[in-house]
């Protein structure tokens, strides 16, 4: 059975790019477009996989032929199939190396590396790697290791999951939280602790009696000097750096032109790859409680591909024609969490009893139906590590809320998340958001799974209003609700299968707007 997509869809220029990649001749300017093509085009990935299989089959065939020629000259009566001969040779050589390694490893243990002011990893949830200073993997999946783990100078912490959260502590007691996809390296820098945040977010939490020892954080576009008693959060991605200081102060230097500025408590600074902006610290703006992303103005689509690249206009005024209202119940553990709808007969009773506790999720159809040229973002394939040796593919879209405007968007009791979406195949959808307590470290992710029965008809445009109370924390250690959280990003995804999920609009509605009705 051939399970590959139809590669006839590849254009000659795409095939040429694939050949160039295999030949190691992709220019710097072509690398990005190659990567984009591979991410977007399953046919290209199938082509590359098959070409790799062909290549190793050619190597095997010639190598086996050479072995057979030698064997036939010595022992003409021996007839062995090329594959089985090779398998035997491979097993024999692997066994020999294995024995040699066992002997070698039994001769003595490796000496522990020299530790200079080690940082201790205090907790880890999700999938992480700790890379040695030579790039080798020193440790994987920290949460399975009972032994204390140290983060040494020269080493790199890399998280491989959007739901990963890791905390480490310096000897002075200052704690750092690293969450989501992130990569952080400890750099040697005299007596100061120095880190390089390539991508992701880091939150600091000084100890009660932390001394004001110097601390340095670098990102691809900024150099930040602060002290260990400073409470801040730092975010870096694609040349963008944002620092918010809540306690203490920091001096930030833009690496492109060397301009520097002092950021005091309650202030923030943003550095973008464009040099035309003057560098200045500004007071952290007041929180707001509603947010809207119509895809045309979203500054940062974190996950997903534009499925319409010719948006002619913004969305017209629309309203929600309600066709379903159902309750969402979650178990106390993430494992058993599913969304279940009550039948119509049960609805009234449940509605009365639980109306005050758990507002209903509302599913409807958008009126009027929008044109086909509506801007939209289609879910992209994303590998997700759920343990050290278990990965699944998910198909996700995500939008950055924190980067779409200067004001933090904070959830309140009664807030709702509204998703305008469509899908091609009926399949469960997971809706979620990530957030942090305002001026405090990262809190985690909150999610809600909605089963296919709840989703309505495939191919149509649906709108779902989900009360913030219906979402549950993914972290077992976080039992509270999401009230007061500043939303970092919002997402929707399919696990395991591509159901053609497309997001057209996401909104966060404050309590007053959420209560005001379902029309926009």
């Amino acid at each position: 059975m051939n399970t590959f997509p139809n590669e006839e869809n590849l254009t000659p220029s795409q095939e040429e790019m694939l050949m160039k990649y295999l030949d190691g001749r992709l220019g710097n300017d072509e690398t990005a477009s190659f990567h984009q093509m591979m991410m977007d085009c399953p046919e290209a990935r199938a082509w590359l996989r098959e070409a790799a299989e062909h290549a190793v089959a050619v190597v095997d065939a010639h190598r086996c032929a050479a072995v057979e020629q030698v064997d036939f000259s010595n022992q003409e009566s021996t007839v062995v199939r090329p594959n089985s001969r090779f398998y035997l040779a491979a097993i024999a050589s692997a066994a020999a190396i294995w024995m040699a390694t066992l002997i070698f490893t039994s001769m003595g243990k490796r000496e522990a590396p020299v530790r200079l002011s080690p940082a201790r990893i205090t907790s880890a949830e999700g999938a992480f790697s700790l890379l040695g200073d030579d790039g080798s993997i020193r440790l994987e999946v920290l949460h399975e290791d009972a032994e204390p783990t140290f983060f040494e100078v020269g080493e790199t912490l890399s998280s491989q999951g959007g739901d990963s959260i890791l905390q480490f502590e310096l000897p002075s007691g200052v704690q750092f939280t690293m969450a989501g996809y992130a990569e952080l390296r400890r750099l040697p820098s005299g007596s100061a602790n120095c880190f390089y945040l390539l991508t992701g977010s880091v939150w600091s939490e000084p100890a009660d009696k932390t001394k004001a020892r110097p601390l340095i954080f670098k990102t691809p576009t900024a150099h930040v000097d602060l002290s260990e008693d400073c409470q801040f959060d730092l975010h870096a991605k694609n040349g963008f750096t944002r620092l918010r200081v809540n306690q203490g102060e920091a001096r930030v230097r833009r690496t492109m032109d060397g301009m520097d500025v002092l950021v005091k408590a309650g202030h923030m600074i943003q550095i973008t790859p464009e040099l035309d902006r003057s560098l200045q610290s500004q007071p952290q703006p007041k929180p707001v409680h509603s947010w809207s992303c119509d895809q045309l103005e979203a500054p940062d689509i974190l996950l997903g591909h534009w499925s319409n690249q010719w948006p002619a206009s913004t969305l017209p005024p629309y309203s929600l024609e309600v066709n379903e209202t159902f309750m969402v119940f979650g178990s106390s553990t993430p494992k058993g969490r599913t969304a279940r709808r009550k039948t119509q007969a049960q609805w009234g009773t449940w509605m009365t009893a639980l109306k005050q506790v758990l507002p209903p999720v509302v599913l409807g159809v958008m009126k009027p139906e929008p044109s086909n040229h509506m801007p939209s973002v289609r879910a992209q394939a994303l590998p997700w590590r759920i343990s050290d040796d278990r990965r699944v593919l998910l198909y996700a879209t995500a939008f950055s809320v924190s980067r779409s405007g200067p004001n933090p968007v904070v959830l309140l009791p009664g807030s709702r998340l509204r998703f305008l979406f469509s899908f091609q195949r009926a399949y469960p959808i997971r809706f979620g958001f990530a957030g942090q307590q305002l001026h405090k470290p990262f809190e985690g992710k909150y999610e809600l799974d909605v089963l296919e029965q709840e989703l309505g008809e495939p191919g149509r445009l649906h709108m779902m209003d989900i009360p913030v109370d219906a979402f549950q924390s993914k972290r077992l250690s976080v039992l509270g609700d999401a009230h007061g959280l500043e939303v970092d990003h919002v997402y929707a995804l399919n696990l395991f299968k591509d159901a053609g999920l497309v997001l057209h609009k996401v909104e966060i509605l404050g309590p007053e707007k959420a209560q005001g009705g379902l029309t926009d």
């Binding site: 590669e7 040429e16 399953p42 290549a55 190793v56 089959a57």
Partner: protein
């Protein structure tokens, strides 16, 4: 469907610890794909074989147990990729390397085919390689077995680089079609 159910994979998911024999057997079943994964990083057939053997070795000396074949295969793909990148670094090869996320997707898609069908594909591929004209086989040998670059092959044949790209591309298409036909024939039998 429950979101928390395990990924739909054709691999056995027995709740017991795989012993060394089972580990080796599983890895040998998956050898063609793991080799191909290693090759897609190093683009060197001999390095790919070395990497596969190293991974096999690690799998039986690693202190973490594998409770299911799916877990072993998934781990093996990741280990293969890392060995491949280490090999590039050790040999100071400056090649375009796919980003981690893309490699993850490629590996996941690779894993969606059953090991038994891997065997059939390999047999069909061996057969199809044998059916190619001598000149085509020579071209593939130079490129993939001898490790010549496309430019070096073009110089030998006194052709333009693009012509080699097109020929190789056509050969891959022909092999794919042949494998597909052969698998269909086998399934009809």
């Amino acid at each position: 469907m429950d979101f928390q159910s395990k990924p739909e994979t054709s691999l056995d998911d027995k709740d017991h610890r795989l012993d060394e024999y089972q580990i080796m057997k599983c890895l040998m079943d998956w050898r063609p794909r793991l080799l191909a994964a290693a090759w897609s990083v190093t683009r060197d057939g001999f390095a790919a074989e070395d990497i596969f053997q190293n991974v096999a070795l690690k799998s039986i000396t690693r202190r973490v147990v594998f409770r299911a074949e799916a877990a072993l295969v998934s781990w093996a793909y990741v280990a293969t990729r890392r060995e491949g990148i280490d090999w590039l670094r050790r040999n100071r090869r400056t090649m375009n390397v796919m980003e981690d996320q893309l490699m993850d997707i490629m590996e996941m898609e690779w894993m969606q085919t059953q090991a038994t069908s891997v065997d059939h594909r390999l047999d069909a591929l061996s057969h199809c390689l044998g059916k190619l004209p001598e000149k085509s086989r020579q071209l593939l040998k130079w490129r993939y077995h001898d490790g010549l670059s496309c430019q070096e092959v073009a110089d030998r044949l006194k052709l333009e680089l693009n012509a080699i790209y097109k020929r190789l591309s056509r050969l891959h298409h022909a092999l794919r079609d042949c494998v597909s036909r052969r698998l269909q024939l086998n399934s009809a039998d």
